[in-house]
Point group: C2
Chain length 80, copies 2
């Protein structure tokens, strides 16, 4: 088995309401100097050793990522 991480983030052009809300919350708690907050996903996969990056890419394109509004980055063979 090996570990693969997929980092999914909203495209720059897409508004992130969750991030805006968190920014407001932090400022409400008194934290200053915060220009922006954007929230994405990190998907940790434990997969068989023979799984290739192309197979993970296909998983992303078919299910894990909404490629219309999201970008993704695959990190193969992460140390557990």
């Amino acid at each position: 088995m090996k570990k693969v991480n997929v980092y999914v983030t909203l495209r720059e052009s897409v508004l992130d309401p969750q991030g805006v809300a968190v920014k407001g919350g932090l400022e409400h708690l008194g934290f200053a100097g915060i220009e922006s907050v954007r929230i994405g996903k990190v998907i940790e996969l434990q997969v068989a050793d023979e799984t290739t990056e192309d197979m993970v890419k296909e998983m992303c394109e078919k299910l894990l990522v909404n490629t219309v509004i999201e970008n993704y980055e695959i990190e193969m063979g992460v140390l557990a």
Copy 2:
């Protein structure tokens, strides 16, 4: 301004229903060899240069992370 990433993941002992559902979905699409899927958050902060790691840690403890069921990792000064 500098960029800080906070990686938030569920503790190992906590069941991840979202991950279980995604695993089922991938298998349903015909992907084999997937032992587990766990889903976390990556919070991207653009903050003032003088923001310290302790300040980010306080943001995590107060708002960004549910420390009862989640772990977090802070990555300061990420290249944009």
